[in-house]
């Protein structure tokens, strides 16, 4: 440390003397060292020296690092003209270090620029020793490239101001090469690759703070060689050696350049599990090798690589391209894996037995056929049963290395329950025959031997596989186990040895499929009772929900019946059903166990629409059924029947009561509803002789024909006539007797509002009846008829009326129509007697009835000789068109007998 300081001062002294010689152009302050490169993390000491002036001393100096004044604690006064400072080197960025002087005098103030000096501090790290140097020269064409490539690992940090560079050195015997780089790899081009020559390679890291070399690689130049892989690899398969393949190849480079050693690896086609031939077998300069102990009839992929034969020198080449070859077929080893599927035949004491088999594990070729022999235990002696049956199979050209062995159906037999057979099977390929496999099928009662099943069979699923665990049957020596799994009509199996109590199913199991897994213990060839369990590799949500197939509606409840989801769509074990039902926006749910297929929803509202659906759940999810809508009943069961019966009984009661009432009040009713109307025919008025002769012009005013009406007031007839005119259109529909009851003259004015309707609804008779209906009234004074003069007591008069369809009024009103309808009128007149009794038959408007009654009336009236003469006169009158003439005459002649017969009642 001391010599360094002395040296520094010496340099300063020299510098100072030199500056003095230079005159006043120089600063009065000088820092040493100038432009230093500093290692980050160390301390740096700089010294500021006062030269060529006595104006200031060291105590007037101070230091600035960039813009910050350095604390005077870090200063060291060397002498009156020198001040040093020690600062830590921090950060990678370069900085300025200034030495300033306080302005202690005017000279200093005026020459400020001469009393300052600065140096730039460049910071960096020392280079780290490169590590992991490795170099490689690859093969180009038939020689090794003259370019050698080296890679190393950088160590340590590098700053921007002090970058670290690397120089790669390659030293041959007598020649040196080098190349500089900033990275961690470099290439050196040699004139030729120096085979069999020693070579030394190293890399040097260097920057302004120092340099350091990596470890030297002093090796034979061939140690850096990486050749191409062997070419032209040929694999030869020889029929006589089914477990062997011969490999030939060509050296990638001439022996004079490099002596190589080889490595061989092979695997079955499709597999990535390589088998490496031990190096001791191939660690020679060889061009062929025979692979042995291979599986017959298996496609192998073979690769070869090489390197410098000298141990520890050179790099392994890449692996050659694949060379593929199938080994020849060999005799099958092992025996076929024989199994059976027994199905019970309903209704018959037989079993259906299907024999299936897998190829021997080491089929060593394509199995071309199986031979099967079924031997009945009771039928051993028969020669026929000893015959072998050939079952040819057509295998595809698959690789024998496939782990999944194909299942071959051999034969199906119907076996009586009491029969037991033994089955033998052998497999053949093109080379030979396998060992014999046999299987016992005991009779149905094999339980007598107590071929007990395994106990505690437990099955679990994880990792996409099914794991089984069981306990061996007690007191029985099991020779092996057969683990069988079946789903969707497909059965597969595997065999486990006698000591196995847990295994995994090795077949390709699908997710969401329900497998029935059975473990059959085999007792010296006799298959014991199986223990079975169902399982899924992985459960999912059902593909569809349960189907609602029925419902039984009630007023406040409904029973829903649904069908289970088909097995292939369950995709898991159903854990529960959830029934949802919704009324409006409110949804209710009920959970029921998985073994339920119907449920009654209660507490429903009557006469309400509900939407219901059922969700079936598994561990993997759930699926819902379609919406099922229903209306609850308005009435509960039996409610309607009760109402109907009640109403019926009530009605019956009313009817009975009415009937009883009618019976007991018969006379009253009769009197009220059917009052006795005196028969005009029996009237004594006909015999009555008026005091006043009948007015000659009265008939003109009165519109009656056929029947003579006792006219009370002449003017009344006119009024009626006028009214009829106004009410003509109404005649088309109904003819109101009130309006047309003027036939009795003033009686219409006094008549009661009771309407006497003369119905003639039938279309055909409308014209006949509507226009011709007229009421005939017989007015009977209580005191008897006294005359045709208006009575002083008209209101006390009792009148009886009769209705007629006589078209008299129309004829009067419309003489033209009368002419047209004259023929009709002429036909009606004969009916007139019919209407004389309409009081008794007013409901009967049927022309037929009317006609019948007319006839009856005629029969009745004829003996009475009721104006027989007028018939003819009336028939002829319309044709003559003199209504005014005949009308007065007719009533006069016809009415007279009536009057004579009328008697007050």
């Amino acid at each position: 440390m001391v010599p360094k300081r002395v040296l520094q001062l010496l340099v300063l002294a020299c510098l100072a003397s030199a500056l003095r010689a230079g005159g006043e152009l120089y600063n009065h302050l000088v820092i040493t060292p100038q432009s230093p490169v500093l290692e980050i993390g160390t301390n740096f000491t700089a010294t500021c020296m006062i030269i060529n002036t006595d104006e200031i001393t060291a105590k007037d100096l101070y230091w600035n690092l960039s813009d910050i004044t350095v604390s005077n604690k870090q200063y060291t006064k060397i002498n009156s003209s020198s001040l040093s400072v020690t600062i830590p080197v921090i950060g990678e960025k370069h900085e300025w270090l200034f030495c300033f002087c306080k302005e202690v005098s005017n000279y200093v103030y005026l020459n400020r620029s001469k009393f300052r000096h600065g140096i730039i501090l460049t910071k960096g790290y020392r280079p780290g020793k490169p590590e992991n140097l490795s170099c490689e020269a690859v093969q180009v064409k038939m020689e090794i490239s003259s370019t050698i490539t080296c890679v190393w690992k950088k160590v340590g940090r590098s700053s921007t101001d002090v970058p670290t560079k690397y120089t790669l050195y390659v030293k041959e015997l007598g020649r040196n090469h080098s190349k500089e780089t900033n990275g961690n790899s470099s290439q050196v081009n040699l004139e030729i690759f120096p085979h069999h020559m020693p070579m030394e390679i190293w890399v040097e890291a260097h920057n302004k703070l120092g340099r350091i070399e990596s470890g030297h690689l002093s090796k034979d130049a061939d140690s850096f060689v990486k050749t191409n892989p062997p070419s032209d690899i040929k694999v030869i398969s020889e029929k006589t050696f089914p477990t062997s393949l011969l490999i030939n190849w060509t050296h990638p480079i001439a022996e004079e350049y490099l002596k190589l050693t080889y490595q061989i690896r092979f695997c079955q086609n499709g597999s990535q599990s390589w088998t490496y031939v031990p190096l001791v077998d191939t660690d020679k300069y060889i061009q062929s090798f025979r692979l042995q102990n291979l599986r017959p009839d298996t496609v192998y992929v073979i690769q070869v690589c090489c390197k410098n034969a000298r141990r520890g020198h050179g790099y392994w080449s890449n692996w050659s391209t694949n060379a593929t070859m199938r080994t020849p077929e060999g005799i099958p080893k092992g025996k076929p894996d024989l199994w059976r599927i027994i199905t019970k035949v309903d209704g018959v004491n037989e079993r259906q037995v299907r024999f299936i088999t897998k190829d021997p594990v080491f089929a060593n070729g394509r199995i071309q056929r199986f031979h099967i022999k079924i031997q009945d235990k009771k039928d051993k002696v028969k020669s026929r049963s000893e015959e072998w049956e050939r079952i040819p199979v057509n295998r595809s050209e698959a690789d024998g290395s496939s782990s999944q062995r194909e299942i071959t159906f051999l034969k199906q037999i119907d076996l009586a329950d009491e029969r037991s057979v033994r089955v033998y099977v052998t497999a053949f390929n093109s080379v030979g025959e396998s060992a014999q496999a046999s299987l016992f099928i005991p009779d149905k009662a094999y339980g007598v031997w107590d071929l007990a099943p395994v106990e505690g069979l437990n099955l679990s699923s994880h990792g996409g596989q099914l794991w089984l665990e069981w306990k061996a049957p007690k007191n029985k020596a099991v020779s092996e186990y057969v683990v069988e799994w079946a789903a969707n009509g497909w059965t597969d199996w595997q065999r486990e040895n006698r000591t196995t109590t847990h295994t995994v199913i090795k077949g390709n199991l699908e997710k969401f499929v329900c497998y029935t897994v059975s473990v059959h213990p085999v007792y010296s060839g006799w298959t014991g009772k199986p223990a079975s369990v169902q399982a899924f590799v992985e459960e999912g949500a059902p593909l569809e929900g349960p189907e609602i197939v029925d419902r039984k509606l009630g007023r406040n409840d409904v029973e829903l019946v649904w069908k289970e989801i088909p097995q292939d769509k369950r995709r898991g074990f159903i854990t529960k059903y959830t029934i949802f039902y919704k009324n409006g926006s409110k949804t209710h749910s009920v959970t029921v166990p998985a073994n339920t297929t119907s449920y009654t929803l209660t507490s429903l509202s009557g006469n309400t629409r509900y939407d219901a659906w059922i969700s079936a759940s598994t561990i993997g999810g759930s699926a819902r059924s379609l919406n099922h809508s229903f209306w609850t009943l308005k009435y509960a069961a039996g409610e309607i029947e009760g109402i109907v019966v009640g109403v019926s009984l009530g009605f019956l009661f009313i009817v009975l009561m009415t009937m009883l009432l009618c019976i007991y009040k018969k006379d009253v009713i009769k009197e009220n509803f059917w009052p006795q109307i005196p028969n005009p025919g029996e009237s004594t008025i006909g015999t009555w002789s008026p005091h006043h002769p009948v007015k000659a012009d009265t008939p003109k005013e009165n519109c009656l024909s056929g029947i003579s009406v006792l006219d009370v007031d002449v003017c009344d007839g006119k009024c009626v006539f006028e009214e009829d005119k106004a009410s003509l259109p109404l005649k088309k529909d109904k003819y109101l007797s009130e309006e047309h009851s003027s036939g009795i003259g003033g009686s219409s004015c006094m008549s009661s509002p009771r309407q006497s309707v003369s119905d003639s609804d039938e279309g055909g008779d409308m014209a006949d009846t509507t226009a011709s209906t007229v009421q005939y009234s017989s007015v009977m004074a209580s005191n008897g008829y006294k005359g045709q003069t208006p009575s002083s007591q008209p209101q006390q008069a009792i009148f009886s009326r009769s209705e007629s369809t006589q078209p008299l009024l129309d004829s009067e009103e419309n003489p033209d129509m009368l002419l047209q309808e004259g023929s009709k009128h002429s036909q009606r007149f004969p009916r007139q007697p019919c209407f004389t009794h309409t009081a008794q038959n007013k409901d009967s408007t049927d022309p037929a009835d009317c006609h019948q009654r007319e006839m009856e009336q005629q029969e009745l009236l004829e003996p009475l000789d009721f104006y027989p003469l007028e018939e003819d006169s009336e028939q002829t009158t319309p044709t003559e068109g003199q209504s005014a003439d005949w009308l007065p005459a007719a009533p006069a002649s016809s009415y007279m007998p009536q009057r004579g017969g009328y008697r007050p009642q």
Partner: protein, 252 residues
């Protein structure tokens, strides 16, 4: 360290070691018979130790000799390999040369040309023969250079002949360097072999035909030299490396 020295040291231990002084005095005071018996036992132990040390020394010497022998063998083996490589390349070069010289190329090589180095190795001692190999190899360098120059005028720049000439020339230099190195490792006190007669004599300017003939003869002669070198090195392998073992054994 020898066994005898150990024995002496043990004797001295009685004189100088204070801790064992008492034991030594007691020993001296014992009667003569016992004293004699103890001494005999001591002598037997010392003899056994001496024998063991001798065996160990011989074994270590042999190990060193074997490693030196192996080193010698490796160097010679590498030299031999390089010789074979150059030999192979020279054979290929002659083929390429003949192919690139047009018709009558076979005839060129049958003509004798002066001023081509002798392919025969001279000397009686291995050192002399090794030196002779080195000198002969070096003697061919100017000739290769001359042939290269001549063929550069005759061939296109991309001709494989030129590349092969360069390769063989460079490889020959490597071989010469390797042999020199081997020579120096075997005979470190002998001077580095150099051509005795000064610079190699090159033929005067030639016409194209002469150039073709000259080139072929040079290559052919060189090939012969390499065959001789190869043979010589195989012989030297037995002589030089084995003799060193013998020398080492005798030295020890």
């Amino acid at each position: 360290m020898c066994g005898f020295c150990l024995l002496k040291k043990f004797e001295k231990q009685c004189d100088y070691d204070e801790s064992s002084q008492f034991a030594c005095d007691t020993e001296r005071r014992m009667n003569g018979h016992v004293k004699s018996m103890h001494f005999q036992q001591l002598m037997e132990t010392a003899a056994a130790l001496l024998s063991l040390l001798l065996v160990m020394a011989v074994d270590s010497t042999r190990t060193v000799a074997a490693s030196r022998n192996q080193e010698c063998g490796n160097s010679l083996q590498q030299t031999l390999k390089l010789t074979r490589l150059v030999q192979k390349e020279s054979v290929d070069l002659i083929k390429t040369y003949k192919a690139s010289q047009g018709e009558m190329a076979e005839l060129f090589c049958k003509v004798t040309v002066a001023d081509v180095p002798d392919p025969n190795i001279s000397g009686l001692e291995p050192s002399e023969r090794l030196a002779s190999i080195s000198i002969h190899l070096q003697a061919f360098f100017p000739h290769f250079k001359r042939v290269y120059e001549q063929q550069t005028d005759l061939q296109s720049p991309t001709s494989p002949l030129l590349a092969e000439l360069t390769t063989v020339s460079t490889r020959s230099k490597n071989l010469a360097t390797l042999i020199n190195s081997f020579y120096q490792s075997l005979f470190p006190n002998l001077p580095v072999p150099e051509p005795a007669g000064g610079p190699t004599t090159l033929p005067p300017p030639q016409n194209v035909f002469q150039q073709k003939v000259y080139g072929c003869v040079v290559l052919k002669t060189y090939k012969e030299l390499l065959a001789n070198v190869s043979r010589e090195l195989r012989t030297l392998k037995n002589k030089v490396c084995r003799r060193r073992i013998q020398i080492n054994t005798l030295f020890l």
